[in-house]
């Protein structure tokens, strides 16, 4: 009994250190901003209606336009470096036949147009969200963020942060298949 009283605090402290070490070294948990679950997943995409960036860029869409087909909605900006990093993967998804919409977040029209001209425009339609009001409506905290919307206009998945090949393989593609299959 006496020994236990002496040893117990040491054991508890060791256990605490173990838990901390596990949490600190778990890179999955540590680096994944999407671990904050979006309360919008499983709910209809909040109503938004966005104009196009410019007349010669396909776009302007509202939440209603998302219905009828599985759609990826990618929130991006020309000033956002991770958006550029994930751009090839978005382009690939679009090339593979997925309908991809873009929300141009807190950007200048001229900058966005230049960026799209330089890096290519894979988006079926882009909504221009200069004041980020629509992004706020969708619970966007930063760029890039990617939503998967099912044919009924329900948000099936949300990924915060850039899409990496790993995220694409392990999260986006399985979710797309699930939504398309269901």
């Amino acid at each position: 009994m006496r020994r236990l009283i002496v040893i117990l605090p040491v054991l508890l402290f060791a256990a605490l250190l173990g838990v901390m070490a596990a949490l600190l070294t778990d890179s999955e948990r540590n680096n994944d901003p999407s671990r904050l679950p979006s309360p919008l997943v499983g709910k209809p995409a909040p109503a938004i209606s966005l104009p196009p960036i410019a007349d010669n860029i396909p776009g302007g869409f509202s939440s209603e336009d998302l219905k009828g087909e599985v759609t990826i909605v990618n929130v991006f900006a020309s000033w956002c470096v991770p958006c550029l990093a994930e751009h090839p993967l978005i382009t690939k998804l679009a090339a593979d036949g997925v309908r991809v919409y873009g929300i141009n977040h807190r950007d200048k029209a001229a900058d966005a147009a230049t960026w799209l001209r330089r890096h290519g425009n894979p988006y079926n339609a882009i909504g221009f969200d200069a004041d980020a009001r629509a992004s706020l409506e969708w619970g966007v905290t930063g760029v890039p963020e990617t939503f998967i919307i099912d044919p009924n206009g329900i948000i099936a998945y949300k990924h915060a942060g850039p899409i990496t090949p790993d995220v694409l393989e392990r999260k986006i593609l399985p979710k797309l298949r699930e939504v398309e299959g269901g």
């Binding site: 904050l36 979006s38 919008l40 980020a132 009001r133 706020l136 409506e137 619970g139 905290t141 930063g142």
Partner: protein, 216 residues
């Protein structure tokens, strides 16, 4: 001189209060209606700027904090009550947007842990203290003397008790014997309780012993 000290006091006041954040709310955001604006400010202090971890949207200069402040005001102007405004943002950003976590099933541990820990620690403290006190009073702690020393001491005490005359305090002999024993084994600060001539330390005891023998 007076001016200098006035300046110093002012500087200190500025430094002391300067720690509190300068308002992030921009003049163009402020509503014309002071009542609505006051409500907006009150709501804003309770909402987390979701990209700043632990700052309210009222304190933060982040773009999204400004957007959320404008949204709060927009909803208020549209006629929402305070709760509806907060719920509007919770529906989009989750409970994370609330700086004060609500009391609900998944936050029970968060809310109950501190009072439970306080009760546990208080109980343990009382128990430990009582055990310590009892042991100290009963003198049942580990014996600081070796068996040989203990035997010698007992013999010494017996001799003093049997040879000394009735002591000044008028205690019966058996109790007097206990007093001497305690005086010889307990901590120095308890020595005050003992009869004077048995004071502290071996030298005094033997002196007292010599004294009584002379008088006998």
């Amino acid at each position: 001189m007076k001016q200098v000290s006035a300046f110093l006091i002012l500087t200190m006041l500025v430094l002391l209060t300067g720690g509190s954040p300068v308002l992030a709310v921009e003049p163009d955001e402020i509503l014309a209606d002071p009542v609505l604006e006051a409500r907006a400010r009150a709501i804003s202090t309770e909402l987390r700027c979701v990209v700043c971890q632990n700052q309210s949207i009222d304190d933060s200069d982040a773009d999204i904090a400004r957007d959320m402040r404008l949204l709060v005001r927009e909803r208020l102007v549209a006629g929402d009550n305070d709760e509806e405004v907060v719920n509007y943002l919770v529906a989009r950003y989750g409970d994370f947007v609330l700086l004060r976590p609500p009391l609900q099933p998944n936050t029970l541990a968060l809310w109950l842990a501190p009072p439970i820990m306080a009760v546990v620690i208080a109980t343990l403290s009382v128990l430990f203290y009582q055990t310590y006190r009892r042991r100290r009073l009963a003198g049942t702690g580990p014996d600081p003397l070796s068996p040989a020393d203990r035997a010698e001491l007992d013999a010494l005490v017996d001799r003093i008790a049997s040879t000394s005359p009735p002591n000044p305090s008028g205690l019966p002999r058996s109790q007097f014997r206990e007093e001497i024993k305690e005086g010889l084994t307990s901590q120095p600060e308890q020595d005050d309780d003992l009869p004077e001539d048995d004071g502290s330390g071996e030298a005094d005891t033997s002196a007292g012993n010599a004294d009584t023998q002379q008088r006998t």
